[in-house]
Amino acid sequence: MPMAASATEPMPFLKGLEAAPAAGGGPAWLAAARAEALARFREAGVPTPKVESWKYTNLARLARTAFAPALAIDGGAQAIPAGRGLALPGAARLVSVNGRFRPDLSDLATLPAGVEVEGLAAHLAHAPEGLAGELGRLVGLAGRPFAALNAALWQDGLVLRVAPGATIETPLHLISIGVAGGEPSLFHPRLLVRVGKGASATLVESHVSLGGEPCFANEVSEVTLAEGAVFHHYRLIDEAPESYHIGTSGMSIGRDAHYDSFAFTVGGRLVRSEVHLRLDGPGSDAHVNGAYLVGGESHVDNTGLIEHVAPHASSRQTFKGVLFGRARGVFQGKILVRRDAQKTDGYQLHQALLLSPGAEVDAKPELEIYADDVKCSHGATTGALDADALFYLMSRGIAEAEAWRMLTEAFVKEVIEEVKIDSVAEAFRDVLVGRLAAIEAGDGGRREGP
């Protein structure tokens, strides 16, 4: 039996971490931040289910895997797996491989005016002090060992700036690819977004990994919306069946700004998406939506904290989950309303469909309210497909498997419809339909029947 990780032992999951210094180079402030982050990670270790926020997500298997740092891959376009990720022909493509931004594979020449995109390492090389107050500001390291590990070890990332007043119609499509070498590989993508005053833009992310040895994408994102900004932020997480993805993101939404997001998880051995969104400006508004559709042994954890800091702000969260095989879903959603956040309007809904007896879900919605004049509601449902609807379809000659597919598609589509950019909504629908067809065809025997 492998030993369990604990705070005092070196992490078995990270090959040679004891010896590895925090990634070197860069300005002094960064070196200090990296050293501190590494110390934090060493102190905390890989969380066990005894840690409250990891109660439902067991990392024992991840901790047993000896990950090596993922290598830089020089190859060309062959690194992008065909048919993976969202199909967005009209978007400007930005490619990252093993956490390194790849200008050579990206559509930088045709970027619309008002958008600046740069690799994080390249940015620091020419402006070493510029990010000193910004990098890490929205993702605190206390209680977040994986964010600390990322902060200590990231190699590169993407810096995205949208100029004040710019209206960017062309969606930007970040394709983040994990490629393991001959052994399990770990990398730490980093994303830093700032949308200027009154600007609007759309960022779509496709996270994929190639099969073979497991990849572990340990990602950190930070998004800042200035006054009146509008940002559409959509994500597809389609990792290989044995791969891991832990994403930690922080958002700060300014006065009258609007943040609209949807994240769809369709693959991975274990995927955790942890969001901490702060409504910092009065009149701000956030949609934090998501869906997941997984089978086999997949485990998908969506953990979110929506923090209402300013008054007159509203937040809406709608999550839809579909689990089959022996998959497991976790939803932990908390709405925190600070004392000054009067007239808050908060809404949260998690609905899960369990399509086989081996599937399970844990949902923990939470409200914590310190203001007295607020409107907050939340709900959670878990169940099987509606038997009456299934019978109605079958009574019209539709075979059970097709009836099952139609109803499941309808269930997930409801939240995809909320994606405001038509071409992106269409691409998500295609993923949904393709995935359901594969399941219906018995791909990998992941469905055990409804």
């Binding site: 109803l407 589509k413 409801e414």
Partner: protein, 250 residues
């Protein structure tokens, strides 16, 4: 041999016996009416013929066109030509009516060896039937039965019958909750589908539908049994005397 042959059928729901020995023959070209007070088991009988998995046949048999119906599931029964117009049509959020109907029509066509219809061919086919039932094309763009009025739901059931062209149709209280104009539309739709090759069973609590769709045979169902059978005049007798007297006379 009749198209549908039901023999001493006993059915239980959650361990309670609802149908207590039904015998019924319906042949092609015939229209039968099954009448009876609320709770007598009319919907149960309709569901069992359609293949609802929630009803347990404890004994007896149902044969359709020579095959044992109890051996096959609801979808296969439908593809073989059995149709049920639901008393309470089910709402299906997120599934567009026309998409649903096209899937259903193609499933049935495939079974019959007819070519499947693509979306454009299907819309053309559907348009004729929509006219017949006074349903707008707009309604077909909405999710199945969601936000439909009571009358729209009933007309939608008859529309589905018209599209699927069944050989045996049970219409469970398709007349209830309709005003006189809507009742006419539904009755005209049903009459248009009467054919020497098709059998229909009108399940109803009231006689008024039978003024428009005149049955060949009328059966009275009470407490899970058919207690009387007769010609169309039996419906009028029930209307006059009420179920209590008609049952007392049985």
């Amino acid at each position: 041999m009749a198209l549908l042959e039901i023999r001493s059928l006993h059915v239980a729901v959650e361990g309670r016996e609802i149908l207590k020995g039904i015998d019924l023959d319906v042949d092609k070209g015939e229209v039968h009416a099954i009448m009876g007070p609320n709770g007598s088991g009319k919907s149960t009988l309709s569901y069992v013929v359609a293949g609802h998995p929630g009803y347990e046949v404890t004994s007896g048999s149902i044969r359709y066109s020579g095959t044992d119906l109890l051996e096959i599931e609801a979808d296969e029964r439908a593809r073989k030509g059995i149709f049920l117009a639901f008393q309470y049509p089910v709402e299906i959020p997120g599934v567009t009516s026309s998409t649903f109907l096209r899937h259903a029509v193609n499933a049935v066509r495939k079974e019959r060896g007819a070519p499947e219809l693509d979306p454009i061919e299907f819309v053309r086919f559907m348009r004729e039937k929509l006219k017949l039932l006074n349903i707008t094309e707009e309604l077909m763009k909405r999710p199945v039965n969601v936000g439909f009025s009571g009358g729209e739901k009933k007309r939608n059931e008859v529309l589905q019958m018209a599209l699927l062209e069944p050989r045996l149709a049970f219409l469970d209280e398709t007349d209830s909750g309709l005003d006189i104009d809507a009742l006419r539309v539904v009755a005209d739709g049903v009459n248009a589908l009467r054919s020497p090759e098709r059998a229909m069973v009108l399940v109803t609590h009231y006689q008024r539908m039978l003024n428009y769709v005149v049955p060949d045979r009328v059966h009275v169902l009470a407490h899970g049994k058919i207690v009387r059978s007769g010609g169309k005049e039996l419906a009028l007798e029930l209307e006059e005397k009420g179920y209590a007297d008609a049952l007392a006379a049985a």
